[in-house]
């Protein structure tokens, strides 16, 4: 994985120093509150409901044991003993004091981490497939690309004051685990007919108030043109993106309003101009620098092993809980005898994505001892051990069990994504964490959960959709209806390479009605499916929403009732969604 050298270190230290100075200049009055705010945000510091929140970048989700231990230390020393892993491969500390933030940033710098550009209207932390470098289905490792983009976008002189935030994701596998179609720019590493490496460039995807599926702006971009092309996209966006209405300021709206053809033409024109000039800020990357970055991501020293391992097979046969965990939480590794193990942060009844300092330290120890010192954070808020020998899995599992980290629910109904919601977030209109906890408890029985099979439930506490509910098989959106929490359900969303935005099922439910409503959907699915191999999403795609709506609203006859008169924000939500 990428390691900081003196250069990176000097850069993040300078940034911390700069931020210290900015805080002082805010206090002295040299900076007004308005001027200070974006600077604060670009250093990861949010003002939340109860306190400041510090969002720390975990670039493309990769970290080592030393970094994980430092996160544990920070959680203990300056926060309340835990951290929250987010859907964008960041970790958030919810309770730091403003006066401690510079010290925290220093502590992060000590282990080669930072909070730069984790919020604000700039290019955010670049995300990538959390199985990168390990997955059997990978064409090419996306991490060098992600690291290149991270460096290029850090403190970029031109793109620090964009119309709105800007998110980039990269995947190197046809099975898109990075949700590239729901990003401002999604990059899929592909090969053209001549087998040359390049990217499919997808622009204008996004969830939020107006969910949209990204569109292919360039079907094949040669690898060496990446930075110039991304620069062209950002320049067009920076100049043309709407600044009159922050809800219409994302690039997806620009693309939607301009139309794909015209937008692509504008980008291509800018790109041609850029290629014609010498020394645009990003255009020519020194080949030695590229090689230096790539070298960091070479595979660890894998042992040459047989695919089958006796210790592993014996444990599988002997221990039912281990068997269940292995079935659910392991993925195929490209190296024989190895597996990718995912640690679920969705223990029944716990807050999705939260980890205590002790848990973080245990995970750090495991990765050091058994996992080539590497960890990944998935956008589904779980932690991945990308390279574990199958032989070591029983020992790893036993250790996880000691810390409540052995939940065998990956991809199952209780592996829920939930945003912070009303418990932490100033924008929330409803709680989301308690709803997730209720659902997980209700479906706690592992055998039942296995019977239901693959099921993605995602919950957002307001229309900003940080919980990605639009792309859930069953999405839940918490709203406020005249002072009462009301939960709207969407059906049939998909966050993979076949990305789809879920369809709104009908009127919302009160907080207590959510679990029974989900149960009705599950009952309907279990009766409608053609055997256990047919997942909820497959059934939905085969027979459509109608039977599920009928199950959700049993008293309303054959069609769903008309929703109540929508409030104004709902109008803007559906009005621009098309």
């Amino acid at each position: 994985m990428y390691r900081y050298d003196e250069f990176d270190d000097a850069l993040v230290r300078d940034r911390v120093q700069r931020f210290r100075g900015q805080v002082e200049r805010r206090i002295s009055g040299a900076l007004t509150e308005d001027e200070f705010k974006p600077l604060r945000l670009q250093n990861g510091l949010y003002l939340q409901l109860h306190a400041y929140m510090l969002r720390v970048a975990i670039p493309y989700g990769t970290l080592n044991s030393r970094q994980m231990r430092q996160l544990a230390m920070i959680a203990e020393r300056w926060d309340r003993g835990y951290g929250h892993f987010t859907t964008r491969q960041n970790i958030q500390f919810n309770w730091p004091k403003l006066t401690d933030t510079a010290a925290i940033l220093d502590a992060l710098a000590d282990v080669g981490m930072h909070a730069i550009q984790t919020s604000g209207n700039c290019i955010r932390n670049v995300t990538a497939d959390h199985f990168a470098g390990a997955a059997a289905d990978e064409i090419e490792d996306p991490r060098p690309t992600a690291e290149l983009l991270r460096q290029w976008s850090t403190d970029h002189p031109e793109f620090a004051f964009l119309p709105r935030k800007f998110k980039i994701a990269v995947t190197g596998s046809p099975n898109d685990r990075a949700v590239t179609k729901a990003h401002d720019i999604g990059l899929r590493m592909i090969r053209n007919e001549a087998e040359e490496p390049g990217y499919e460039v997808i622009v204008g995807g996004g969830l939020g108030r107006t969910p949209m599926v990204g569109k292919v702006v360039r079907a094949f971009l040669p690898k060496s043109d990446l930075l110039a092309y991304v620069e062209a996209i950002l320049r067009v966006y920076n100049l043309e993106g709407r600044r009159d209405n922050k809800y219409k300021a994302r690039i997806k709206i620009l693309l939607h309003e301009t139309g794909l053809e015209q937008f692509s033409a504008a980008v291509e024109r800018e790109f041609d101009d850029l290629k014609a000039v010498q020394g645009g800020p990003s255009v020519a990357v020194d080949p030695q620098e590229l090689a230096r970055i790539e070298a960091y991501f070479s595979a660890p020293a894998f042992e040459v092993l047989d695919e089958a391992d006796e210790t592993f097979e014996t444990a599988l046969a002997a221990d039912g809980t281990f068997r269940a965990w292995s079935k659910q939480n392991l993925a195929e590794h490209r190296q024989p005898g190895y597996a990718i193990a995912t640690i679920s942060l969705k223990a029944i009844g716990e807050v999705p994505g939260d980890a205590t300092a002790d848990q973080m330290r245990l995970i750090a120890d495991i990765s050091e001892q058994f996992g080539h010192d590497e960890l990944r954070i998935s956008h589904e808020q779980n932690i991945v051990l990308p390279h574990v020998r199958k032989r070591d899995l029983p020992a790893v599992f036993a250790l996880l069990q000691t810390a409540g980290l052995a939940t065998a629910n990956l991809g199952l109904i209780s592996d829920i994504i939930a945003c912070p919601g009303m418990d932490y977030c100033a924008l929330a209109t409803a709680r989301s964490i308690p709803i997730a906890q209720d659902i997980a408890r209700h479906f706690a029985d592992p055998t039942y959960a296995q019977t239901i099979g693959e099921m993605k439930i995602k919950i957002s506490g307001c229309i900003n959709a940080c919980g990605h509910h639009h792309v859930a098989h069953i999405g839940i959106l918490g709203l406020d209806r005249r002072g009462v929490e009301n939960y709207q359900i969407t059906l049939g969303g998909d966050h993979t390479e076949t990305l789809a935005i879920g369809e709104r099922a009908g009127p919302g439910f009160g907080a207590e009605e959510v679990v029974p409503a989900i149960q009705r959907l599950i009952d309907a699915y279990l009766t409608l499916r053609n055997g256990p191999k047919e997942t909820f999403l497959m059934v939905y795609r085969r027979i459509g929403a109608e039977p599920f709506k009928k199950a959700l609203y049993p008293d309303s006859g054959s069609t769903a009732p008309n929703p109540p008169a929508p409030s104004s924000d709902v109008i803007s939500f559906s009005g621009t969604a098309g």
Partner: protein
């Protein structure tokens, strides 16, 4: 309304103060953030000044607009005007602006020092991606690393020039190889973990001693001790020399410009005594800018030594031109080298044509702002930067890391 320039706050030149929206004329243009750069594309060659308005500092369109105009080939003056804060100064310069016009109120809140310090960034990823990180990394590395692989050398000669400048020579290890213009890390054997700093080698690669030309930084971790070295003392020299100011990093052409400020003279003192340089170029123009006259002495002596040198003296007499300027003390030639280039004074007084990519190559060594501004002038003239792996029209090295 103060004008923030790379040299600090200035008053707006009187012939430009009238550039208001009402007085747009053939040579001055005002643009707002939503202006279309394309519309101006054909007229850019005729314009002297374009002023881009920033309604709010949070509206970053002006940065892209500036970048686009520069990409279209606009070479005139580019000014940002309005609500740009000091924390954006380096961004504005990097995007191609020359200066920023701010309100009196903002100037009061964010005094000159805020703007100056915004530029002092030690490192930037974009610079590194362009392949310019290695010398900075070498320098930074040595701030931490211990001392295996060092030569212990004896001082043979010391000469003090001013309160702040001196030079010294040490014996050369027989196995130590370098190319003229490169730098090496040196230190003093005065601690368990000695501090090393990057130093350009001021002698040519064929010389049997190593010469250095040094600053004396008050309380500087290395130079507070180094300035007291005497003949016979030991100086530590690391085993590997490196750097971009080498003749091999430039493609062949007619003329070579060596542009230095301060101790940035050191690598050029080496190069002007290297025969390879005179084989490769028909003419070598060395400029050196310092605040006061006595700071120019070392460079003047170096030129004298080159011209008297048994090996290269004859070629140096024919080909080497020295062009010193002072920036503070009054003298025959005053002002920063960038000014002499911009006004054309440099070329007029030497009777040379202005920079052009076909005939001219350059090396720059000086402070970060000097490197930045000089580089911009070369690029404006169509020269492109080179490196060891990819030779080009010019190369740069910072004389020190701020």
């Amino acid at each position: 309304m103060p004008l923030v320039t790379t040299e600090g706050f200035r008053l707006i030149p009187s012939n430009e103060t009238s550039v208001s929206a009402e007085s747009i004329n053939d040579r001055f243009v005002n643009l707002s953030g939503d202006a279309q750069a394309e519309a101006l594309r054909d007229k850019l060659a005729d314009l002297d000044l374009i002023r881009i308005e920033f309604g709010s500092f949070a509206d970053g369109r002006g940065f892209s607009l500036a970048k686009r105009l520069r990409n279209y080939g606009y070479k005139g003056h580019l000014r940002a005007s309005g609500h740009v804060i000091s924390d954006q100064f380096r961004y504005a310069l990097d995007c191609g602006f020359d200066d920023v016009e701010i309100s009196d109120e903002l100037a009061r809140r964010q005094p000159e020092a805020d703007w100056v310090s915004d530029r002092a960034t030690p490192v930037s990823y974009i610079e590194r991606l362009r392949g310019r990180g290695s010398s900075i990394v070498a320098q930074l590395k040595e701030k931490y690393v211990s001392q295996d692989g060092v030569f212990e050398q004896q001082v043979t000669h010391v000469k003090h020039y001013t309160d702040g400048l001196f030079s010294f020579r040490v014996t050369r290890p027989s196995s130590f190889r370098f190319r003229s213009g490169e730098f090496v890390m040196i230190g003093m054997p005065n601690a368990e973990k000695p501090i090393f700093r990057a130093y350009s080698i001021a002698s040519p690669s064929w010389d049997d001693e190593l010469e250095f030309y040094s600053i004396k930084v008050p309380d500087g971790p290395l130079t507070e001790h180094l300035q007291h070295v005497a003949v016979g003392d030991t100086v530590l020299v690391r085993k590997k020399a490196t750097g971009t100011l080498v003749a091999d990093a430039l493609t062949p052409a007619k003329r070579l410009y060596l542009l230095a400020t301060g101790t940035g003279m050191a690598p050029f003192a080496s190069l002007i005594r290297d025969p390879y340089v005179y084989e490769k170029f028909e003419q070598v123009v060395l400029t050196h800018s310092c605040r006061d006259h006595n700071e120019l002495t070392y460079g003047r002596e170096a030129v004298g030594r080159a011209k008297a040198d048994p090996l290269v003296g004859e070629a140096a007499q024919r080909k080497l031109i020295f062009y010193p300027t002072t920036t503070r003390e009054t003298g025959p030639r005053m002002g920063r080298i960038t000014l002499h280039i911009e006004t054309g004074e440099l070329f007029r007084s030497l009777d040379l044509p202005r920079f052009d990519a076909a005939n001219d190559r350059a090396m720059i060594c000086g402070s970060l702002p000097m490197v930045h501004d000089t580089k911009a002038l070369l690029e404006a003239a169509g020269l492109t930067e080179g490196s060891n792996s990819r030779p080009g029209d010019f190369v740069v090295e910072r004389a020190f890391v701020e």
